[in-house]
C-alpha cells in the first residue's frame, strides 16, 4: 500500500458563513488505494461535510483536496467516485435496473453495454430477480443494496458512503456490513464510510478516523489490525473488543461537551 494516495486532504478548513460555524478545521488525511476508512464522531463533528468536500459537493474554505492526483472538481467531472447516502435516493419512476443504469447513461454508455453491466451489478448485490421492480416495492435493506450497486456500476476508484446503513435495523445492518465487505473485496475500490456506530466502523475498516466536534477535527486514528475476510465471528474476538474500546475512549476523551443523546448514539 505504498501507492500514491487516492484522496489527499491538506489543511482543509470549512466555515459556514451562516451562523459562523467552523465545521472542519485543519484536516490532514491521506487515503491509500484499496483502503476502507471510516469517519466516526458525534453529530456536528463535520464527518458528512468532510465526505462532501472530498466529493466536491461542498467547497472547502481553505486547504486543498486531491482525488486521484487531481483537484476534487476535476475528479468529480471525471466521475472518479460513487456516492451512497443514508436514504437510498432511488428514483421512483425508474425500475431497479434503470436506477443502476443512471450513472452509465450519464457516462454515455450505449444500451447493450449498460444492460450487461447492470446485470453484473444486480448479481453482485443479489437482486437479479428484482430488475424490473420499482424502488418502493423493495425493503429498506434492498433499496440500499441497489444504491450500492448504482454507486459501483461504473467502477469508480473511490466510494463515498454517508451513513448508508444508519436507517436500517441492527440485524439488517450487520448482514449488509458483511455484504459490503465482500463487495469491496471484489471491487477493490477505496471506501470512505461515515458512521455513528463504533462497532460498524471497527468491523468494516482498515482505519477508523475519530473526529471531535466544534470545530470538527481529527481526534485520532485507530488502525484496525483484524484480518480480512472478516466474518460473524470477528465480532466475538477479544481483539475486536479492544479496538472498539480504544475508539470509544478516543471519542470520550475528545468529546467532553457531548450531549447525552449524542453519547447514546455512539454506544
Amino acid at each position: 500500500m505504498s501507492d500514491a494516495p487516492v484522496v489527499r486532504l491538506a489543511n482543509v478548513t470549512k466555515t459556514f458563513r451562516q451562523g459562523n460555524v467552523t465545521a472542519l478545521q485543519d484536516i490532514d488525511l491521506d487515503l491509500v488505494p484499496g483502503e476502507f476508512v471510516s469517519l466516526i464522531g458525534p453529530s456536528g463533528c463535520g464527518k458528512s461535510t468532510l465526505l462532501r468536500v472530498i466529493g466536491d459537493l461542498i467547497e472547502p474554505t481553505s486547504g486543498t483536496v486531491t482525488v486521484n492526483g487531481k483537484s476534487a472538481r476535476r475528479a468529480r467531472n471525471d466521475r472518479d467516485y460513487g456516492i451512497v447516502f443514508q436514504d437510498a435516493v432511488l428514483f421512483d419512476w425508474r425500475t431497479v435496473a434503470k436506477n443502476i443504469a443512471l450513472p452509465l447513461e450519464m457516462l454515455g454508455w450505449d444500451r447493450d453495454r449498460r444492460r450487461a453491466r447492470v446485470r453484473e451489478m444486480l448479481e453482485l448485490v443479489e437482486l437479479g430477480a428484482f430488475a424490473d421492480h420499482h424502488p418502493w416495492q423493495l425493503s429498506g435493506g434492498m433499496q440500499q443494496r441497489v444504491a450500492i450497486a448504482r454507486a459501483l456500476a461504473f467502477e469508480p476508484a473511490l466510494l463515498l458512503m454517508d451513513e448508508p446503513f444508519g436507517a436500517l435495523d441492527e440485524m439488517t445492518r450487520e448482514r449488509l456490513n458483511l455484504e459490503l465487505l465482500s463487495i469491496w473485496e471484489k471491487a477493490g475500490s477505496t471506501v470512505v464510510f461515515v458512521t455513528h456506530s463504533i462497532s460498524e466502523a471497527v468491523f468494516l475498516s482498515n482505519r477508523v478516523v475519530v473526529m471531535s466536534p466544534r470545530p470538527g477535527r481529527i481526534a485520532g486514528i485507530v488502525e484496525i489490525d483484524l484480518p480480512y475476510p472478516r466474518t460473524v465471528e470477528t465480532r466475538e474476538e477479544p481483539r475486536y473488543f479492544e479496538l472498539v474500546t480504544s475508539v470509544r475512549e478516543l471519542l470520550r476523551s475528545r468529546g467532553e461537551h457531548l450531549l447525552p443523546e449524542e453519547e447514546a448514539n455512539l454506544a
Binding site: R52, G55, L57, R76, N77, D78, R79, Y81, G82, I83, F85, D87, V89, F91, D92, W93, R94, T95, L102, P103, E105, M106, L107, H134, W136
Partner: protein, 257 residues
C-alpha cells in the same frame, strides 16, 4: 384484477341508483312541480328527444372548454418552467400566483365578453384558459421544486448539467403534481365555458341553451342540458385520468388504485 375493480365500483353504483330512484319516487309521490325539480325519467326522455340540438350544443361548448384547457394548461406549464428556471423570479412571483389563484376569475367573464366578440367562442375559451392557467402553473412549479436535495447532489456527483438534472429528475418528480392540477383544470375548463355562455354567446352553445330554456320555464330542457354538460365534463376528466394512469405507471399511488 377486473373482479376487484368491479367490487370497488359496486358501492358507488348502488348509491347512484338508490339516489336516482329516491329522486324519481319522491317527485312522483309528493307531486313536486316540474319547474322546481323534474323527474329523472323526464330529464332522460328530453335528453333523448332533444338530442339533435343538445349534443351539437354540447360539442360546441366542449370545444371551447377543450381549447381553453389545452392553451391555459400549456401556458401554465410553460410559465412554471420559465419561473422555475430562475430561482429569484420564482421567489418573487410565487406569492402573487398563489394570491391570484384565489381570485374568482369567473367574475371576469362579462369583461372577456367585451374584449373579444361576445358571440365568438374565443371569449369563452379565454375564460376557460385563464381558469386553467393558474392552478397548473402553481402546481407545476411546486412539482419542479419537489426534487429532494439529495437527488440533486447525486446528479451533481455524476457531473450532470442543469439540463440533465432537469430532464432526469425535476420533470419526472413534477409529473404527479402536474396531473393533479390537470384534473382540477379539466373541471374548471367546463365550468368556465358554460358559465361564460350564461353571459351571452352563440345560440347553438350549451350554456346559452340551458340559460334560455330556464328563462322560458322549460326546466326539463335545462336539466337535460346540464346532464349533457355533466357527461362531457366527466369525459374530459376521465381522459386526463386515463392519461395519468399511462404516464405515471411507475407511481405507487397508481399501482394501488
Amino acid at each position: 384484477m377486473s373482479v376487484r375493480r368491479a367490487g370497488e365500483w359496486l358501492p358507488a353504483l348502488v348509491v347512484f341508483v338508490v339516489v336516482v330512484g329516491l329522486w324519481e319516487g319522491l317527485v312522483r309521490a309528493l307531486h313536486v312541480h316540474q319547474f322546481l325539480l323534474p323527474k329523472p325519467s323526464t330529464i332522460v326522455s328530453v335528453f333523448w328527444t332533444d338530442r339533435h340540438t343538445l349534443w351539437p350544443a354540447g360539442w360546441y361548448t366542449f370545444k371551447e372548454a377543450l381549447g381553453g384547457f389545452v392553451v391555459g394548461s400549456g401556458l401554465g406549464m410553460l410559465a412554471a418552467t420559465v419561473v422555475g428556471r430562475f430561482q429569484t423570479a420564482g421567489k418573487a412571483l410565487m406569492p402573487i400566483f398563489i394570491a391570484a389563484n384565489a381570485v374568482p376569475i369567473i367574475a371576469f367573464a362579462p369583461i372577456f365578453g367585451a374584449w373579444f366578440n361576445p358571440i365568438s367562442p374565443h371569449s369563452k375559451m379565454a375564460v376557460a384558459g385563464v381558469l386553467c392557467f393558474l392552478p397548473v402553473l402553481v402546481n407545476t412549479l411546486r412539482g419542479l421544486q419537489s426534487a429532494k436535495p439529495r437527488q440533486i447532489e447525486l446528479m451533481r456527483s455524476y457531473a450532470a448539467s442543469e439540463l440533465q438534472i432537469w430532464r432526469r429528475v425535476r420533470v419526472p418528480a413534477a409529473l404527479p403534481f402536474v396531473f393533479t392540477s390537470l384534473k382540477v383544470a379539466s373541471v374548471l375548463a367546463m365550468i368556465g365555458a358554460i358559465v361564460s355562455e350564461y353571459f351571452g354567446g352563440a345560440l347553438n352553445a350549451l350554456g346559452v341553451t340551458i340559460n334560455n330554456a330556464a328563462n322560458v320555464f322549460q326546466f326539463d330542457v335545462a336539466w337535460a342540458g346540464i346532464l349533457v354538460a355533466s357527461l362531457l365534463g366527466i369525459a374530459l376528466y376521465g381522459a386526463v385520468v386515463a392519461t395519468e394512469r399511462v404516464v405515471l405507471r411507475w407511481s405507487p399511488q397508481e399501482r394501488s388504485s
